[in-house]
């Protein structure tokens, strides 16, 4: 059989000392692909407060706003929320807030409302901001957008390993199944679509009740979600996803009481870095700034 390149096998990973790490789906992750022009380091902010979740699981909108404000201030180095949000959004912008409405674990409406409030507070007219998920590609605000804020919950995923910031642009594709091969390795190409290319100003990975394990056709069982009560924020979606993934992995180890890597390695994250030059997946090059509650942080 003639191959396009020498097959990459399990043994190649073993040679790299990866024994004991799940290798499922890691196939094309590690071909040598040169990095393009990209920042040397990335910054991700983790901000947490248990008060964001009520005893019944209700999301506290005031705490959401406070946490997001803390996050953007830390990310920008600005002293107050208004000037911090102004680093991302200007009054001239048309803003699409790319949300996620997966019924079992959607972006909470309280989070969407808080973001819209911040966008309009930055001077954007209400008719120039829209929140959408699956309808985003057809939404005129997104079609005419100059800026996108990408916000969704973190969860494990049967086929992509995890559903996080990079994968959240799936609805912008005209042919979603075309991105499924080899465990969604090419999700990074979504970010090159004209409707989004170069527009994403801020990525917010909702870590309020992340899902760390998938079972059954619908992926969701409340038994495998937990109250983490936080958000990850950053301008680099790959870096944000990388840190979110490390938290999921740590939770799996805690829950299963052994190393329990995700059944599918979400190599689309690494691929987004190495093939699509979308950001940084090397944790050694990501500065994580942590605010709020330290207990149960898992980092």
């Amino acid at each position: 059989m003639i191959y396009g390149h020498k097959p990459i096998t399990r043994r190649d990973f073993l040679k790299r000392g990866a024994a004991g790490v799940t290798l499922a789906g890691a196939a094309a992750t590690f071909p040598t692909i040169a990095y393009g022009e990209e920042p040397a380091r990335a910054t991700v902010v983790l901000v947490r407060d248990p008060a964001v979740l009520g005893p019944d699981g209700a999301v506290n909108p005031e705490v959401v706003t406070r946490l997001l404000d803390m996050g953007v201030c830390q990310l920008t180095g600005k002293p107050d929320p208004a000037s911090a949000w102004a680093q991302f959004i200007t009054p001239e912008d048309t803003v699409g807030v790319k949300s996620n409405t997966w019924p079992a674990l959607r972006t909470p409406p309280e989070v969407e409302t808080a973001i819209v409030s911040k966008v309009t507070g930055a001077g954007v007219p209400a008719d120039k901001v829209a929140v959408e998920d699956r309808g985003a590609r057809a939404n005129p605000v997104f079609q005419n957008s100059t800026a996108i804020i990408n916000v969704r919950p973190m969860r494990s995923h049967h086929w992509a390993g995890v559903g996080s910031c990079i994968k959240n642009f799936m609805p912008f594709s005209e042919d979603c199944p075309s991105l499924h091969p080899n465990f969604c390795e090419n999700l990074g190409e979504l970010w090159e679509l004209p409707i989004v290319n170069g527009k994403t100003r801020l990525n917010i990975l909702v870590m309020l009740t992340p899902l760390f394990h998938s079972k059954g056709p619908h992926n969701f069982d409340a038994k495998y979600a937990w109250d983490y009560a936080g958000f990850l924020l950053g301008t680099d979606p790959v870096a944000v996803d990388t840190i979110g993934l490390s938290i999921i992995q740590a939770k799996r180890k805690q829950f299963f009481k052994e190393d329990a890597p995700l059944p599918i390695t979400p190599h689309h994250i690494r691929f987004a870095a190495e093939k699509f030059h979308l950001g940084i997946a090397d944790k050694n090059r990501i500065d994580v700034k942590m605010l709020g509650t330290a207990e149960g942080r898992l980092i």
Partner: protein
């Protein structure tokens, strides 16, 4: 009759998610313990299953899903219950779909094999794999879920068994609940990453199982068995595997890999057997002897 057929086809494509499948529909009860079905079923084919379960559809497509019916049940004051009935091409495929998830809970005796985990009943019988689930399962909800499942299992008249390849697995040391079934190398890689290339020439005409065995120390040993349509295909796969994965193997087709464990390959007629991660060479030989028999050949 032709007009009626064309009308039916037209209706299906006009409303792909709303077409009743009479064969599956009659398997599932309309009403159970006061739970009723307020709306029509949603019906999916392999072509549009992703509209219902996103990327998880790839797993079922790889296992030859034919049809899926999703039925919703409601009862005042209780959470909604959903029954998802997956009709697969064969009972082996139904086994594979059921065992895509690790099954480590006690059998609840619905269908061939079943499990009640958290708020979901999963079982398979004949060509069907069925999931009945709710957001939470108080005792009345659990009773309704079980009643739906039991009624469905009873209505499935056939009782074709699991893949016959299972009969080749030695019982001693087999880790229960962790045996997988597959046709193509994407699913194999999901369960046990071998290579980015299809070294074993797997396709829809081949079928394989993967099983794990406990070892005295360290990670489990993995046994892979593939049945090809013809002996020549098995021979070709062995040759390809030896070339790409075990180039350092001796005449016995065994090699010590980078993790200090042993991997070997053997064929017998249409069967190919690979043992990964055996603690010692003798363990690999013993396992292959049991599976492929003394008549097997490594050369």
């Amino acid at each position: 009759m032709i007009l009626a057929f064309l009308f039916a086809v037209g209706q299906f494509y006009a409303h792909p998610g709303r077409k009743v499948d009479p064969e599956i529909e009659k398997l599932v009860p309309k009403e159970v313990l006061g739970w009723t079905t307020p709306s029509k079923d949603n019906v999916y084919s392999a072509a549009n299953l992703h509209e219902y379960i996103d990327g998880a559809s790839e797993i079922y497509k790889a296992l030859n899903v034919q049809r899926v019916v999703a039925r919703r049940y409601i009862k005042q004051g209780f959470p909604q219950i959903t029954a998802d009935i997956f009709k697969m091409k064969t009972s082996a495929d139904a086994f594979g779909a059921y065992h895509h998830d690790t099954r480590d809970d006690a059998d609840v005796h619905v269908g061939r094999e079943s499990e009640f985990d958290s708020a979901t009943l999963a079982f398979w019988k004949d060509r069907y794999v069925v999931y009945v689930t709710a957001a939470t399962a108080s005792e009345p909800v659990r009773a309704a879920i079980m009643a739906i499942g039991e009624a469905t299992a009873t209505a499935i008249a056939g009782d074709a068994g699991p893949p016959s390849l299972l009969n080749l697995l030695p019982a001693e040391g087999l880790l229960p609940g962790d045996t997988r079934y597959f046709h193509n190398h994407f699913l194999l890689n999901l369960y046990y990453y071998v290579s980015d290339k299809n070294l074993l020439n797997l396709d829809s005409d081949s079928e394989g199982i993967l099983a794990r065995y406990k070892t005295p120390e360290g990670p489990p040993m993995t046994s892979l068995i593939v049945r090809y349509p013809a002996a020549a295909a098995a021979r070709a796969a062995r040759s390809e595997f030896l070339h790409a994965y075990l180039p350092d193997a001796g005449p016995d087709a065994l090699a010590k890999t980078e993790n200090g464990r042993w991997t070997g390959v053997r064929i017998r007629d249409k069967l190919l057997c690979v043992v990964f991660d055996a603690p010692a060479k003798a363990d690999a030989i013993q396992m292959m002897d049991k599976i492929a028999g003394p008549g097997g050949t490594s050369k």
